[in-house]
């Protein structure tokens, strides 16, 4: 016996619409439930992707080459010598659209005429940072760092305000060279930047790589080579791992190591993995809420047709046939609900919330977590499949309860009911 014989399908479809109001009400519950699953997970994912992007943007990159010791002890002792040469070699290994940025990043002290504060000094090649990190984006105030500018410095807007400085003011930067000797040099503030994370804004200052190298008498050295993949989806970890392996093969014997962003940002990576679990929990919770209604509605539909089932049995339909008919009815209900809900969700995400939601009123809160101010919902196929899957699987499971009831009616029993 085929499961979907035309007769059963027709009977079930017509049964579904014998009480249009009842069907519409339970459909509404299903549709609202599925929409909430898909739209909320799209926002959650959008928020998370923004967070990943901001963290990668935060001078991390998709892959980073470092001296393995630097991650434990970020000092000039653990540097990369001849960084330009290595960067060029690695560049050959990778596709053309991959961007490399060489940086020298060390702890230091920033002194104004009145105050001192601890900062992270980053020597950059301004041209190489475009599209790689936040410092490659347009500045908040002032002019960008010119490649030949040996005395220019960029500062976070947050730090600028806290120290009461202005663009054009002079500051002294101090750091330690390889022999442990303190080295200082005066710089002029050329501009200020804004970053998604307030901590970054208060900690990082940028100068030209060359002038930082000169200041520390360490020509050609850097502490990191950051690699950014164009179009790299944060979830396409396979590509990243593949490149990491290839780069590490080349780096063999140099005492350097390439690491993918998931290892560089273990906390974020763990959060991403947990996110799927959170979403699944939410899906199941919403389902249970509508599952009771679904069971009740189908149960009612079955009870008021008791005599019909009795008649069908008397005419020779087996109990499995009755189960089948009820299950097809449930399946129709779920499929219509899913189709409507998927369409509505698509409309909501792509049209209504296309320009995202602005979390500006939680400014300080989102800065703390590195969440973007505007969150754009992200539809992911896996979330849609998961939401629909949860509803269909659990829905059929719930539907089995009234179906089994219907199959238990015996012709004699049902004749007695009026």
């Amino acid at each position: 016996m085929r499961f979907f014989d035309l007769l059963s399908v027709q009977i079930s479809w017509r049964n579904l619409w014998r009480n249009p109001r009842r069907t519409t009400i339970i459909l509404t519950a299903i549709v609202v439930g599925i929409i909430s699953m898909i739209v909320l997970s799209a926002f959650g994912r959008g928020m998370m992707e923004g967070m990943v992007k901001n963290s990668i943007d935060n001078l991390v990159g998709h892959i980073k080459i470092q001296n393995p010791q630097y991650r434990i002890d970020p000092a000039i002792d653990n540097r990369i010598d001849q960084a330009e040469k290595i960067a060029a070699q690695i560049g050959e290994l990778l596709p053309d659209d991959v961007q490399l940025a060489t940086r020298l990043r060390l702890d230091g002290v920033l002194s104004t005429s009145r105050e001192h504060t601890g900062v992270m000094i980053v020597g950059i090649d301004p041209a190489a940072e475009k599209g790689v990190s936040f410092i490659g984006r347009p500045l908040y105030q002032g002019t960008p760092l010119q490649p030949e500018d040996a005395r220019g410095l960029l500062i976070g807007q947050g730090l600028l305000e806290r120290l009461g400085l202005e663009i054009g003011k002079k500051v002294v930067v101090l750091s330690q060279d390889a022999s442990g000797e303190g080295r200082s040099k005066a710089f002029r503030i050329r501009g200020s930047y804004r970053a998604e994370m307030r901590d970054t804004e208060k900690r990082y200052i940028f100068i030209n790589l060359k002038s930082f190298q000169d200041m520390l008498a360490a020509p050609g050295s850097a502490t990191e080579i950051s690699i950014s993949l164009r179009n790299a989806n944060a979830y396409q970890t396979g590509t990243v791992e593949d490149y990491v392996d290839r780069i590490n093969e080349r780096l063999d014997g140099l005492g350097l190591e390439a690491t993918g962003w998931r290892q560089l940002l273990p906390a974020i990576a763990a959060y991403i993995d947990m996110f799927d679990v959170y979403m699944l929990i939410w899906f199941v919770v919403v389902f249970v809420a509508m599952g009771f209604g679904l069971a009740n509605t189908v149960l009612m539909a079955v009870y008021e047709r008791m005599r019909e089932f009795g008649l069908q049995r008397a005419l020779g339909l087996r109990s499995s046939g009755i189960i089948k008919n009820v299950m097809i009815e449930v399946l129709f209900l779920l499929l219509i609900g899913m189709a409507l809900a998927d369409l509505c969700s698509f409309f909501l995400v792509k049209v209504v919330f296309r320009s995202g939601i602005d979390l500006g009123s939680f400014g300080a809160g989102i800065e703390m977590w590195g969440i973007s101010r505007i969150v754009y919902p992200v539809l992911s196929l896996s979330d849609i499949v998961m939401a629909n899957g949860v509803v269909v699987l659990l829905g059929l499971l719930v539907g089995l309860y009234p179906a089994l009831h219907a199959a238990r009616f015996t012709p004699i029993e049902t004749m007695r009911h009026l």
Partner: protein
């Protein structure tokens, strides 16, 4: 009273349907009770660990110090203020702190750190740092040139317990301040930013090194309960001397924490609303059925003279009793689940590492409060009664003759 009995009996005419409806309500209620307790508990833990690590519930600082900390913006004669403040009710502990940025150097390495002068005796009542010593000991009252330092800063400076550390900075008057301190302890709070940049010295020693002349930068208060901090701050602002200073609550000191709690709460509320709407539609059918399968009965009752209004009341009583049973059941389950979770705590799994960076504890403990037990059920109660109104309000328009014929 008779009507209530009638309603109650009507519910059990179809026990299976009523039980499913009650269970739907109970499920949503239990979930809301638990989730709200969980959220409130987590917020309290988050605020508490942030308050204990650095800010306290309320602080008094010199005007402008919070926006732009500078050495010269001090509170003179803090003892008077301290006396005044200790008289206040609800104050749990008060401590004095001063801060200065210095260049700290070990044998080979140096880096900038934030030196905090603390009163060791008071600090152990206010701050969590004394309990977070991983090596050596915390400061004691008798300590002279001794300091405790964050684990990451110690690692970077290659310092260990017993080593000497040279501090170089500027004093309150702008003069050069230099000192050698012995590291007596290393603490690890789990918040990298804190462990990387903080060193604590006894306040008396700090005073000498940075020529503070008895002045301090901050007065830190904790209260018996978090909820006392607003009222406490208001009381403090009344003080003669505090009026010229700035009184700040934890919300103003860590706006990020407050706003991320708001964001989390609002997204939670949106989810609960959706859940309650789904439940409402889920049970709307039951209410409709309960009325329409009894159309004939209503026809009979109306033809023998029952007022439609009484029928409406009767049906509302029916859904009201069903909802109440569901709510009571749900609240009980919710309370039991919450109490169990509050006893053992809920591990955040792999997210714990992520949370630790923001000073959040590894395990979160739900907290049962009057608010968390009542808000959710109240919402469900209102929504279910509104839902019940939709079918019930159709009763008055029933014509007895037509109803009898159906």
């Amino acid at each position: 009273m008779n009507d209530l009995l009638l309603a109650w009996r009507n519910i059990w005419r179809n026990p299976r349907r009523s039980i499913l409806t009650i269970l739907a309500i109970a499920f949503a209620t239990a979930l809301l009770v638990f989730m709200l307790s969980f959220q409130f508990g987590a917020y309290d833990d988050m605020i508490d660990s942030s308050v204990r690590l650095s800010t306290g519930h309320v602080q008094i600082v010199a005007p402008g110090y919070h926006q732009r900390p500078e050495m010269r913006k001090v509170i003179d004669n803090p003892e008077e203020l301290l006396q005044e403040a200790t008289m206040l009710s609800n104050v749990d502990a008060v401590s004095l702190r001063s801060e200065a940025f210095v260049l700290a150097s070990g044998e080979k390495r140096s880096r900038g750190v934030m030196v905090t002068g603390v009163a060791p005796h008071h600090e152990s009542k206010i701050s969590s740092v004394p309990q977070q010593i991983k090596k050596g000991r915390y400061l004691t009252e008798g300590d002279g040139a001794a300091g405790v330092i964050g684990a990451l800063a110690a690692q970077h400076l290659q310092l260990d317990v017993g080593d000497e550390c040279v501090l170089l900075g500027s004093g309150r008057d702008g003069s050069i301040a230099a000192a050698v301190v012995e590291i007596v302890g290393i603490f690890k709070s789990g918040v990298d930013e804190f462990d990387r940049s903080i060193m604590q010295l006894p306040l008396a020693e700090f005073d000498t090194i940075f020529s503070m002349e008895g002045a301090v930068h901050r007065l830190i208060f904790t209260f018996a309960h978090l909820s006392d901090s607003q009222a406490g701050a208001a009381q403090l602002r009344q003080g003669e001397r505090a009026r010229k200073l700035q009184v700040l609550t934890w919300e103003e000191l860590t706006p990020g924490l407050k706003q991320s709690i708001e964001l989390d709460l609002i997204s939670g509320i949106i989810m609960y609303f959706i859940l309650v709407i789904v439940v409402a539609f889920s049970i709307l059918n039951t209410f409709f059925m309960a009325i329409f399968e009894r159309k004939k009965e209503f026809g009979v009752l109306m033809s023998i003279g029952m007022k439609p209004r009484r029928l409406v009341v009767l049906m509302l009583l029916e859904s009201f009793s069903m909802t109440t049973v569901g709510l009571v059941l749900g609240i009980l389950c919710g309370i039991i689940i919450t109490l169990v979770a509050a006893r053992y705590g809920i591990s955040m799994g792999d997210s714990a590492e992520f949370m630790a960076q923001y000073g959040m504890p590894e395990r979160l403990y739900p907290k049962l409060t009057l608010l968390s037990v009542t808000v959710g059920p109240l919402l469900i109660f209102v929504v279910t009664l509104l839902t019940a109104l939709i079918p019930v309000l159709r009763i008055p328009s029933l014509r007895p003759v037509e109803a009898l014929r159906s």
